[in-house]
């Protein structure tokens, strides 16, 4: 079979439709010819199923590969992913995204594609503003969205990206009879009274005991309980109580991300979940779905990091976050505040 390199396509004749398309779903039939992308052509050349001509000569693998890399950005990356998917037994077509992948046992004309695959180099930062429209586009046509990330040594990792709803079963805390008196010290809030400390800690796992009498609350916990009217917060150097605005402003000066973190915290608590700090995992929160008793702390299901809409993912950092989450059997979720509230995006490693 012979194809001719023309711009960023390789065009083969009618016979190729039978031999390459009908028998392997390579390329796209166009009238009486078969149009192959550069990666398809390179793969067929590697498999000795196609010779490729340019001008008057026939190109060897090295020549064609080098030529293709000049004609298409990220050609090598796409080739690595295409080859991997093919060798795992999938039929792959080019599409609006890098590749459309058919489910096992399916192929063009028989079944719809299952996944949209986007190829990325670990070196190229990925803006959330690029990722989200792709996730939405895939969801709108009910496709699985997959990122195929190629590292500097050409190793491949596949990630599935999807929006998820989170919901827990933890009852919301009821206000105590009186507002609980607390003090904001440097960057944490202390509950002084033993009974109140036990109430807050025992009903929703708020705070951490300083000792057997007193409880320390984090800034987001304090803001949430203040907004619910459960606690009263004084500064250590005045007797005046702070309202949510005062407190948020102090908290934001301690922790620049405070408001963004708090919006996610608030949403999670109101969804019946119990968020606690994810510091040890390098994320804002680890999140429990149900907390019946602090004496029997369950496995936390999510690690959640709250990110701004202009966030740019550095892929090695994202890779580490997901790898760590998965290694402790948790899902890694990113929380994004938008007009409709908080959107949670789940990014998880998958085996193809």
């Amino acid at each position: 079979m012979i194809g001719r390199l023309m711009q960023d396509r390789v065009i083969s004749g009618k016979q190729a439709i039978n031999e390459l398309y009908r028998n392997g779903y390579y390329g796209r039939p166009k009238d009486d010819s078969l149009e192959l992308t550069l990666v398809e052509a390179a793969y067929l050349l590697y498999k000795n199923k196609l010779d490729i001509e340019l001008d008057d000569g026939v190109l060897g693998f090295e020549d064609f590969f080098t030529e293709a890399a000049k004609r298409q950005q990220y050609f090598e990356l796409k080739y690595i992913v295409y080859k991997d998917l093919r060798e795992r037994g999938f039929y792959v077509q080019s599409g609006v995204t890098d590749f459309r992948v058919y489910p096992r046992g399916g192929h063009p004309g028989k079944t719809p594609a299952k996944s949209f695959v986007y190829v990325r180099s670990e070196r190229i930062p990925m803006p959330l503003s690029d990722l989200l429209p792709s996730v939405n586009a895939a969801e709108n046509v009910r496709k699985q969205m997959i990122l195929a990330i190629v590292d500097e040594e050409s190793d491949l990792t596949y990630y599935e990206v999807k929006k998820v709803k989170v919901k827990g079963k933890t009852k919301l805390i009821n206000p105590a009879q009186d507002e609980i008196r607390t003090t904001l010290l440097e960057d944490r809030v202390i509950v002084w009274d033993s009974e109140s400390s036990q109430y807050l800690h025992g009903n929703g796992f708020y705070g951490k005991p300083l000792d057997n009498e007193r409880l320390q609350l984090s800034l987001v916990e304090s803001a949430y309980l203040l907004e619910l009217g459960l606690i009263d917060i004084q500064k250590s150097d005045s007797e005046e109580s702070m309202d949510l605005n005062d407190f948020s402003s102090v908290a934001s000066s301690i922790e620049p991300d405070f408001m963004r973190k708090y919006m996610a915290y608030n949403d999670l608590r109101n969804s019946g979940l119990v968020p606690k700090t994810g510091f040890k995992f390098g994320t804002h929160f680890r999140v429990y779905a149900e907390m019946v008793s602090v004496d029997k702390i369950p496995h936390s299901e999510y690690l959640i990091h709250s990110i701004a809409t202009d966030h740019v993912f550095m892929l090695p950092v994202m890779s580490r976050a997901i790898r760590l989450a998965n290694s402790v059997r948790k899902r890694m979720l990113y929380a994004i505040e938008d007009r409709d509230g908080i959107t949670y995006v789940d990014i998880g490693r998958i085996k193809m």
Copy 2:
């Protein structure tokens, strides 16, 4: 026992030397009195072993704690760490660092301190230029250096920080008869020839096979092999060979950290180690001590990240890196280039 709050100390009388110092090693005897730090005093107050006077009154725990927080920066953090160490059975003294901690079974006057403990809030970024002098100071007097990091919920994590030497057993690769011909495509280098591909991959685990004939080399691998004179690198759009300067300059435009990464790579290879990409772990390298055959890849011992001398550790990020490394039974090392070469700093979580 009664103490008097004076500035940032609590001073108690002669009797306290017997009751608190000789019997628990609290404070420091000075002439006929005992001088206690604010955290020591707060702890003794909590244990009902001390009453604290200010002006004409006696301070309750809440009053003293609030007052101390005003008088000393990071008082709460230090208190949390001090209390934790005490309750784990250690004798603790204040020192140039936050705390000097005595070994189990030891105490002031009997044994030298074993560790210097530095207290840090997860929220406060930690410059390498602060960390390194502390590591050196501890090493000079043969103490263990420990970071005690307090997270937003007052949970505590202890890290040991030490300089380490790294050494492997992998033989350096010998030059082949002729320079191996390779091409730099977009951001990776391709070895076209099957025999050369096998030689490089089989002798030191260089590169990754593109297929059963060709090998892909990463930028640092290519620079190293170029410097050794093993390979010749051509650009895809010219026939000219690149020298190390040309190549480094192109590589640095692709990867801004290239030179720093390469210096570490070079040092590791020359120390008999085999560094490969640590992308999946979010670090520059995963490192093998000995690679006898690529058919039997051993467990990699280190994750190594190369950082600049002006690097600032964000503690949640550091915590994640170490947690991930430890979860896959590897040590997390940071490589720093200085006048004498590369210094490796090992930061690992420890249980006190």
